[in-house]
Amino acid sequence: MSLGDSATPLGRVRGLGSAHHGGEHWLTERVTSIALLFLGTWFIASLLLLPKLDQRTLIEWLHAPSGAIPMALLIIVGFRHALDGVKVVVDDYVHEEGSRFAWNTLLLFLAVGGGAIALFALARIAFGAVA
């Protein structure tokens, strides 16, 4: 259904829900959710298959490309999906324009900062020596 068919003239100009922009965000949220179906299952299955959950075993797991690459993807896609998802909650419940901008900016910084910390730690494991 194209927007022109269904929207009133005002709706066509605004064309926007509570997110105040188009369908890209909606679609990204769903695509990342499909990716996380695989990455999340991989993560849980990996924890179950590891013989032990001590530091040495975990280092060996994340040092190998088979562990490091999916973990990097899980971090990147996970933080992106979290940011997109929490933004929906903010856009739904915070109505004042300034506050919404402040919340969304704070959450963007948190997601990028948290993702950077996690990726740095992973890089240190993946490229460091196996003790």
Binding site: I44, L48, P51, L58, A82, V86, I117, A118, A121, I125
Partner: protein, 115 residues
């Protein structure tokens, strides 16, 4: 309705507590045996016999499975399917049954390995 709210609540919990703990856990692993020992100490800490952190982790794994299953439900509904009252309700209840069963199975297994 209730499952839809659960989807949001579990999503927010996973975003903050889930990803926060993931980042902390990775940082602890990368910091060497001592750093990881500190992480394990927090996880195993008991407040009057009550393993507080373990309860949080069980809650997060339940959140993960609940969010995953209700997420699948939402993807199906995005296609326009499963809006009929009976199917819709059954699907919603199944996400809760599924998440509880998966969480229980995971932790029975994990605690079995730890011992």
């Amino acid at each position: 309705m209730a499952v839809s709210i659960l989807h949001r609540v579990t999503g927010v919990a996973l975003s903050f507590a889930g990803l926060g703990i993931l980042a902390w856990w990775l940082f602890a692993i990368s910091g060497g045996p001592d750093a990881y020992g500190n992480f394990e100490a927090v996880v195993n800490y008991r407040f009057y016999q009550v393993p507080l952190a373990l309860i949080v982790l069980v809650g997060l794994t339940w959140s993960f499975f609940q969010h995953l299953l209700s997420g699948i439900r939402h993807l199906v509904m995005d296609t326009g399917a499963a809006f009929e009252l009976g199917i819709n309700k059954t699907f919603a209840i199944l996400t809760i049954v599924g998440s509880v069963v998966l969480t229980a199975a995971l932790w029975v297994f994990l605690l079995g390995v730890a011992k």
